[in-house]
Symmetry: C2
Subunit: 428 residues, 2 copies
């Protein structure tokens, strides 16, 4: 199979007609599938049901004498801090346990920095200008938070080993209005890439012009490996920052949303003691405490970090074949035609597809015609603007394998149709 760009116009037109027929056929099949979010399937979620048997009316609801069913313990029960600390490779004193959503923790970090400032520095709302660096493609919900607060977002290319660090250093070390960078350092959303040791070390060694600059380190996929034998590992950022003389420069985020039940897990903020003290000053105004029974439930269900690792293997067993379906379809149907590129991730929840420039929106629209809802084109960029109109996030987790095979058929047809339209239009 030759690349499309080497086909004659006549060949392309003929191919287009044939594809269109196939597409109409598929459309008539009446697919209705939402693949827009990184949501585990119903069957996959089932593996956490044991969590619901951990606490019953006859359970001991205390842990080392601490009563988990009454008020108190603003920043979480010690056992939950220990569990999360083990998973994210820090000490329990570096952990605050929150409610069910790490996104909410990130929002609160930005919101408080905006209204009250970071560790005594001028609140962002009193500063002329606040900017954030956004490695792209990235996570739309990160960008939505900074956009909500009117923070100017700057695109930073995300390479195979992490963000373009020359550019990051140029901005952070020289511009005092740059207050943060959104990072998904492991199995990045959406590319699936992980930061190299050099990238993490350069991040930790930044010399920010702004004293209130922080790395917003979203460890969403910390333990979300697809394979037993091929796993990405990254350096622990708190330790790296401390070694580099920047102990307070990072907020790390974590949750069990994609470990136990999405929406009913526990979330955490991980940072230096000084940062956490700053956070607690506000936290004690905001709440009396988070759901300690759910913390207890998680602690007793997993026992320890090994329990979490074992549990994650069960998740991988669901996800692996789905990633294989997506990747093998792309490899079989798209690669030789040279109308798209992607990375083969070893973990996380997404495959990031790059179409020919200027095609992503049209591909997503085409897919929708046939009942397949993909993440909106552009969503992986700040302000929803992909300058190349090329990136599409594929989320294989939610459909069944059968549905996914069908969905990928639709996707491939859409990519081919739009690519030919593009090539023919350019040829005119």
């Amino acid at each position: 199979m030759k690349p499309y760009k080497e086909w004659s116009e006549e060949q392309l037109v003929k191919e287009y007609q044939s594809l269109l027929e196939q597409f109409e056929e598929v459309k008539a099949g009446g697919l209705s599938l939402d693949m827009s979010r990184g949501k585990p399937s119903a069957a996959q979620v089932e593996i956490s049901r044991g969590l619901l048997d951990v606490l019953t009316s006859t359970s001991d609801l205390t842990e080392n004498g601490l009563d988990c069913c009454n008020y108190g313990y603003l920043d979480g029960i010690p056992e939950a801090k220990e569990l999360i600390a083990d998973i994210v490779e820090v000490e329990p004193e570096n952990v605050i346990i929150y409610g069910n959503s790490s996104l909410n923790v990130m929002y609160d970090q930005i919101s408080r920095s905006w209204s009250h400032g970071v560790m005594g520095h001028t609140p962002w709302c009193r500063q002329e200008k606040v900017k954030f660096l956004c490695p792209v493609p990235g996570y739309d919900r990160h960008f939505a938070i900074t956009e909500w607060f009117g923070i100017e977002m700057i695109n930073i290319p995300l390479n195979d080993d992490g963000p373009d660090m020359d550019l990051v250093e140029k901005y952070v070390n020289n511009d005092p209005t740059v207050k943060g960078i959104w990072c998904v350092p492991k199995y990045s959303n959406p590319t699936g890439t992980s930061y190299s040791d050099e990238t993490v070390r350069r991040m930790a060694a930044l010399k920010p012009a702004a004293p209130d600059f922080r790395l917003y380190w979203d460890n969403a996929y910390n333990v979300h490996h697809l394979y037993d034998d091929r796993q990405d590992e990254i350096l622990e950022i708190l330790h790296c920052c401390e070694e580099a003389g920047n102990p307070d420069m990072v907020y790390k985020f974590f949750s069990t949303s994609k470990i136990t039940f999405p929406g009913s897990g526990i979330a955490a903020l991980i940072a230096s003691k000084a940062n956490l003290e700053d956070v607690r000053r506000q936290l004690r105004i905001q709440t009396i405490g988070y759901d300690k029974l759910n913390m207890l439930r998680h602690v007793r269900f997993f026992r320890d970090e090994v329990g979490v690792r074992e549990h994650m293997k069960k998740h991988a067993a669901f996800l692996r074949p789905k990633f294989e379906i997506v990747l093998s379809t792309l490899e079989r149907e798209i690669r030789d035609l040279e109308i798209g590129t992607w990375i083969r991730p070893r973990g996380g929840y997404f495959v990031s597809f790059n179409s020919l420039p200027g095609c992503a929106k049209a591909i997503v629209a085409r897919a929708k015609e046939a009942g397949l809802v993909l993440t909106g084109a552009g969503a992986t960029y700040p302000y929803g603007k992909d300058p190349e109109d090329s990136n599409i996030r594929i989320a294989p987790s939610y459909p069944t394998e059968e549905e996914l095979i069908h969905a990928m058929k639709v996707f491939v047809l859409a990519v081919k149709l739009v690519s030919i339209e593009k090539i023919l239009a350019l040829a005119v």
Copy 2:
């Protein structure tokens, strides 16, 4: 027993010596008791343990086809909205279900108004001055939120039928910098009083100078009656506001923190559809959704509003005798001496004690000497400043009855000692 003020100096000195001896004896007993917060006792919390059996690994985790163990449903599951709507006498469309803390909901309301404004109006942080009215004595955690945002707080006397409405109207209807008033309309924290129908109607009929003025209506003790036969009922504020032509003027707050497990309940914001739409615009930036399994747990445990009412009777059975201990001790030991006043509440969590002016701080300090920790004097006022230094919040719920009898002995001795000191000092 004559009032202390009618005693001769000699009599008072003699009484003082005798009280001091009793106090030293009690002190030697080594009491250590924290009565500072409105926290149910360990035994009382036990009545909700059945909640933990409602969901198990074999439960149906869907409700009308809606999957409660996966992402989605930003503003809560319909069944939880219905349950809460029934309890707080509104329609489900007026309800958003949050996480475990209504305090957090209130904080978020203020925080968003501060950073982004209310329904399109100028954010408070861009306004020269923002003020809140604070009926006093009131709830310290309310005042802490407004203080945190640098909002100027104005004391409004809380009478037996609610806040001084002449003063409220004067401020709200004339001063455009007044953006809100903190209200605990039923079984007020700490006085236990409830707003009369006239007070509620006058609240609803306010003509605020500020278009972004809201009533912050904390229905914390909505179903928290002490008695079966004597219960306070108040008018429903959303309806009253709508009738008065002010449909968007109120945010009502509710949680099950003192219904099921403190810290592991569900919270709600209740407001007009227009207000909730305004809230949702931000909510979808802040989170993917709250803990739906905990919502489901509550819905299935209670079934309906009647289930909640029945459950509250069990709480009352624990609280009633404790309130009786406090009140009968005060009546027996303090009343005739005319060194304190209080109201006999029909619900809620507190007895509000007013000492002779200038004595509260000293009484709390005295009690602490003997191992009894009370809510800090002044805590019931903005900025912790009780201009009379007179109000002390007594929270009878946490100790056992035996402990409470002992605690009240300490309290009464402290009140008497400090009162005599005051009277003698004035006489000098």
